[in-house]
Symmetry: C2
Subunit: 109 residues, 2 copies
Amino acid sequence: MSKPFVAINYIDCNADYKERFEELFGSRAKAIDTMPGFKFMNVLKPITNDAPYLIVSYWDTEEQFKAWTSSHEFIEGHKRGFEDIRKAKEEGKQPPMTSTFRTYTVIAD
Amino acid sequence: MSKPFVAINYIDCNADYKERFEELFGSRAKAIDTMPGFKFMNVLKPITNDAPYLIVSYWDTEEQFKAWTSSHEFIEGHKRGFEDIRKAKEEGKQPPMTSTFRTYTVIAD
């Protein structure tokens, strides 16, 4: 068995977008759950308010994760959030959220 | 059921300490695994080299996590790393690793 692959998206949310952000994930379509190699995911909300949210997903391999991010289901599943960002841009506003993406391997458990 | 509590320690390791750091976790005593409320832990190694390592642990409650960090087993389990930091200080060197600690609740899975 190779070591599991972990993807974490660090999301900085504007204060007035947090409720909407949490609602989007609370009502997610769960398409990711059916992807080959997917193990589990979690959305982590920081207890300290000014820290980023974390979207964490565990995969058998990096390739399987990449297959997810380039899938039709990924685009479909992120449509509402992408649309919010597009609208803000159109109105000349700051994006409601920004993200930093990092990848990991599990070296101990 | 309350939402799981997640603790993440972000560890910045000096380049020449990474091998030692990975060795310490690879040979951990696993005392944490027997603590009440402990669910699981992972040590995540960044695929991009300059990012911090993540020590992630999932608990039923924050109180149970705090009980772990103030336990005899915690002190015992971290003795080798603490000793490395103490020695560096004694020799007037930079600490081999520094850590930033953040806590989370799981809001979606």
